[in-house]
Symmetry: C2
Subunit: 206 residues, 2 copies
């Protein structure tokens, strides 16, 4: 069974892939609207983790709509959730994609799909959507990350990560200037995976 | 890192243990109030799965309180949740227990801990509570179960399983007769694991 894991190069999506690895053929998939080389950055990290990687490029309309939403709202939640849902749908529509996973944790609020959205996607596209970290709190995730990953953490503006926020911030900066970013986005720390500490090697005997 | 997985002998708790196996030293733990040999039944299944197993026996007061609750409510939800929370607390209080897991799925309603209950247990006992299947829907769980487990499914009354319901039903039957069971419990299908289809063998290289 193959699973497509949405991959930002951060610790949560990396750990999700590692947790699924013994049970699925894992491929990492990064969303890019080509405003920044986020796909390439993610590809480098994916290589260090030892997983195949590919980039999906949803319609630019998705980013434009997210831009309109965030400018109207003045906060990122709805815009990020909108991109996330559309990326999952874009992936779910592809042939051969049956299992989709992401790095959402128990305590995450953004991005987050509601149960009606999840059921709708699973039913319409005949896919399984899975969040391997959904039953893990922050502290448990940190224990596992320490065990399996070497990461760096810094403020969002200092880390080139392949999450939805990165290109949305770039679009806002180009159109409205860097001060708008400070207005809209809370200051928060992001993680970027430097390398894998241990390689989990699976061997299944029937 | 060792994880104590609450184990009923059913497919969900078995699959949870299997998903954690590559990353933790797994021990299976079954709750019993000694009304029925549920601990022994679970021990047999645990052996087939290849995991160490032990039984915990919470204070009989827990089952008595659950009995009072269910007789007052006329439905099992609150009573089952009460037992579940107390079993987790009983386990969390034991020395050497740092990670506790159970088999709760995305769509499960009973047993279920609320976020305030989870945070309270994690903070008071300094443990990590994890639900490896929390981010998996029923269909995804079934796919993994088919891959890794051979199970039998039947109505609750025909399957001797080591879940909280089994001994609670027994207590009600002894005190109020079998007709009371039909009044209180919805008819539902339970699973019991017969054997493991594949052995996941881990090998971690640093």
């Amino acid at each position: 069974m193959q699973v497509s894991v949405l991959f930002s190069g951060g610790k949560d999506s990396s750990l999700s892939a590692i947790l699924l690895e013994p049970f699925f053929e894992v491929e990492l998939v990064t969303c890019s609207f080509s405003l920044l080389p986020v796909g390439e950055v993610a590809a480098e990290t994916a290589e260090k983790l030892g997983f195949p990687h590919r980039i999906i490029e949803p319609d630019m309309v998705v980013l434009e709509k997210a831009y309109c939403t965030i400018m109207e709202d003045g906060f990122p939640k709805n815009a990020i959730n909108f991109i996330h849902r559309n990326v999952i749908e874009c992936l779910a529509a592809q042939e051969g994609v049956n299992f989709i996973a992401d790095g959402i944790r128990r305590d995450d609020r953004v991005p987050l799909l509601g149960m009606p959205e999840i059921r709708s996607i699973e039913d319409r596209f005949n896919v399984h959507y899975m969040c391997p970290l959904k039953g893990f709190g922050r502290a448990a995730v940190d224990e596992l990350v320490n065990e399996y990953l070497l990461i760096e953490e810094d403020l969002s503006e200092n880390i080139l990560k392949a999450d939805y926020e990165t290109e949305l911030r770039e679009l806002i900066t180009r159109r409205n200037g860097p001060d708008k970013i400070k207005e809209i986005f809370p200051v928060h720390v992001q993680s970027h995976v430097i390398e894998r500490r241990k390689a989990e090697q699976k061997k299944i005997t029937t």
